[in-house]
Amino acid sequence: MTRNWHEVFKGVAPPEAEAAPAEEIEEKKRGWFRRFKVSLSKSREAMTQRLSTIMFDKLDADLWEKLEETLIFADCGVASTVEIVERMEQAANEGEISDQQQFFSQLEKAIVDIFPADSYQIDVSHQPSVILVVGVNGTGKTTTVGKIAYHLKKEGKSVVLAAADTFRAAAIEQLSEWGKRVDCPVVRQEHGSDPGAVVFDAIAAARSRGIDVVIVDTAGRLHTQVPLMEELKKIHRVVGKQIPGGPHEVLLTVDATTGQNGLIQARLFGEAVDVSGVVLTKLDGTAKGGIAVAIAHELNLPIKLVGVGEQTEDLRPFDPGDFAKALFEA
């Protein structure tokens, strides 16, 4: 079941036990996922085959092939697909699948089990905590920075944004716009200045003003660009020097439309700056984001958040069960 934000943010106190009746909370939680689905238009539904109705007929080679195709089509990649199908075949051999309902609950379980179960939190328990947001060009870093700031503020944390993308034209202006939108100060320098220096300033500002969380927006870069990856390592070091143990979170944005290259992205960014979790963006499109399965499977990296639109509220805690269902349901 979808988590609440105060459960996701480590260091945020749960709200005072309001006398909200249990059902109402349930309703609200379900509402989130429903809303996410409602925001999808009719054409999406028409496009995604109703696998749930066509997939399960009888347990034969055809079924396994359909399952395989469904997973490949979701961008899960060959290795994860093979693993999931084998698990399902094994379950079938052990007599655990005899009807459609069992088939789908086993499938959901096989997928959910791939995701690391305990590392869903985003650590903002330090003073200040630093979140570094990294990723390939256009994957949604700046937008995600804005959205996280919004949710942190809603949970009572103060936030400062660091405009460490000093490279792309108007990147600083874009983040400043987000700063206005979510009412957060933005620490910025000139275009072309040293991103490490911006981060240094932002942390110093957080310290002197007693701000809880620093979120760093970095420039988009391809994991194959060695000098730019070195620059990222340097930014990481700058944080670590100022705050032992920092950055406390390094979030990698991965676009849900990304194919198998996403796995290489996660591996190389992980090697460079010790990524602590993935934000899977643009899940509001027709792409299923199965690359997240491949990333979790091969690198044991948790998916922490999902982006489901361009507005401030369009960010959700990642829920493996909902995600698994969406992989094979229309």
Binding site: V136, G138, G140, A171, D255
Partner: protein
């Protein structure tokens, strides 16, 4: 890293050359590998199915050429079929006989439209055109600022209406403005949008009706996965684009989405965007893309890269010297420098098909190259030209000068002599001998 498709095929089909015909069993085994390779390259699975069926039909019973292994024969067939599917010639923009030509750029969020607009403008300026840019992304914060900055960088005017929330009006007025100013191409940047966002797709349709573009270009991220097919089909149905620009090709994505889009829409890929710099933009070569998708090592790209970097005259001289076996340390230094300009040596090796695996994986240490360079630089011009005069005391002097040990200097000289010998054989018309791997380590 993964073995390449060629290695895998070699594995399942054996390495005996000219084995007669491809048996059904061979073909089935090969097709399994091809299918996996294409799926790993993000080619849509339906496209893969059709493609593999077509290739299989052709491969069954085909004669394996004298000089090829069965695996190479299969790759040859697959490559030819891929090129056929991708189209073999580069496509071009349609230019209006009556200027201005109107180009409309469309695509998903984050695919790289704005940067690509500027790159296309620069490309056109180089061809003597006078483009104007129109900023219709009224949604993403600071998108208009971004286009203005880029316009300035490429020296091209940018039309925008500050505070407007009507993209259709901006597009219309932008085209009018460009026409009045006598610009000959108008490139319209639009906001990234999801193909299923009915409201925003409607906006594109309206812009299209208003400005009647000569070219509508879909900007597609080369890292896109299976969903590329949905995206392309929807954009085609709603705005019927004319061609595709493939972005972020400087990364290591195999780019199977290019094949999917081509297969389901039949639209050509016209340009490729290959780097952060605004001149990293060029015509798209379908045949090279075919090699890339197969992960076969892109010989053509390698050759082209080499050509850009090695001054042609020097190259000719070098060829002459190799033929006469007069290759000196001086030439070696030159060559090493132009090679290094092309990028990390290991990457270069990976691009050459048929390089044995142990060589491809040989760790080529860039610092080692620095050391070799330092040693050669400590030689006098005379020593570089006539290495045979390098006696003990000269070697010692060079070692001191370069900060290397005498042993390292000796090693370099003896390797160099081996290399000269190889070149003589090469020059003598023999086939390129197998280079012993140890020659590649330690600086060669």
């Amino acid at each position: 890293m993964f073995d390449t498709l060629s290695d895998k095929l070699q594995n399942v089909l054996g390495s005996l050359k000219g084995q007669g015909r491809l048996s059904e069993d061979d073909v089935n085994k090969a097709m399994r590998e091809i299918r996996l390779a294409l799926l790993e390259a993000d080619v849509n699975f339906k496209v893969v199915k059709q493609f593999v069926a077509a290739v299989k039909e052709r491969a069954l019973g085909e004669e394996v050429l004298e000089s090829l292994t069965p695996g190479q024969q299969v790759i040859k067939i697959v490559h030819e079929e891929l090129v056929k599917l991708m189209g073999s010639a580069s496509a071009k923009l349609t230019m209006s006989p009556k200027p201005p030509t109107v180009v409309l750029m469309v695509g998903l969020q984050g695919s790289g439209k704005t940067t690509t607009v500027a790159k296309l403008a620069k490309h056109l300026v180089k061809q003597g055109k006078r483009p104007e840019l129109v900023a219709c992304d009224i949604y993403r914060p600071a998108a208009i600022d971004q286009l203005k900055v880029l316009g300035e960088q490429v020296g091209v005017p940018v039309f925008s209406i500050d505070g407007s929330n009507d993209a259709v009006e901006i597009a219309r007025k932008g085209v009018e403005d460009a026409a009045a100013a006598g610009r000959d191409v108008v490139i319209i940047d639009t906001a990234g949008r999801l193909h299923i966002d009915e409201k925003l797709m409607e906006e594109l349709v309206d812009i299209r009706k208003q400005v009647r573009p000569h070219d509508i270009l879909l900007v597609l991220d080369s890292m896109t996965g299976q969903d590329a097919v949905n995206v392309a089909e929807q954009f085609q149905q709603q705005v019927n684009f004319d061609g595709v620009i493939l972005t972020k090709l400087d990364g290591d994505a195999r780019g199977g989405a290019a094949l999917s889009v081509r297969a389901v829409t039949g639209k050509p890929i016209i340009f490729a965007s290959t780097g952060e710099k605004l001149n990293a933009f060029d015509a798209f070569h379908p045949d090279r893309m075919a090699s890339r998708i197969l992960g076969m090592g892109d010989v053509l790209t390698l050759i082209e890269k080499a050509q850009q970097n090695i001054d042609e005259k020097k190259a000719l001289e070098l060829e002459e010297k190799i033929r006469k076996a007069q290759f000196t340390f001086e030439d070696f230094l030159d060559q090493m420098q132009s090679m290094r300009k092309m990028g990390p040596l290991a990457g270069m090796l990976a691009m050459i098909p048929g390089i044995p695996k142990q060589l491809r994986q040989a760790q080529i240490d860039e610092r080692e190259l620095d050391r070799v360079e330092a040693i050669i630089r400590s030689m006098t011009p005379e020593e570089r030209r006539s290495p045979e005069i390098l006696n003990g005391s000269r070697r010692k002097r060079i070692a001191t000068g370069s900060g290397a040990s005498v042993q390292a200097v000796n090693q370099l000289i003896s390797k160099f002599k081996q290399m000269q010998k190889l070149m003589k054989q090469f020059a003598g018309g023999k086939k390129m001998p197998n280079i012993p791997p140890e020659l590649l380590r330690g600086g060669f």
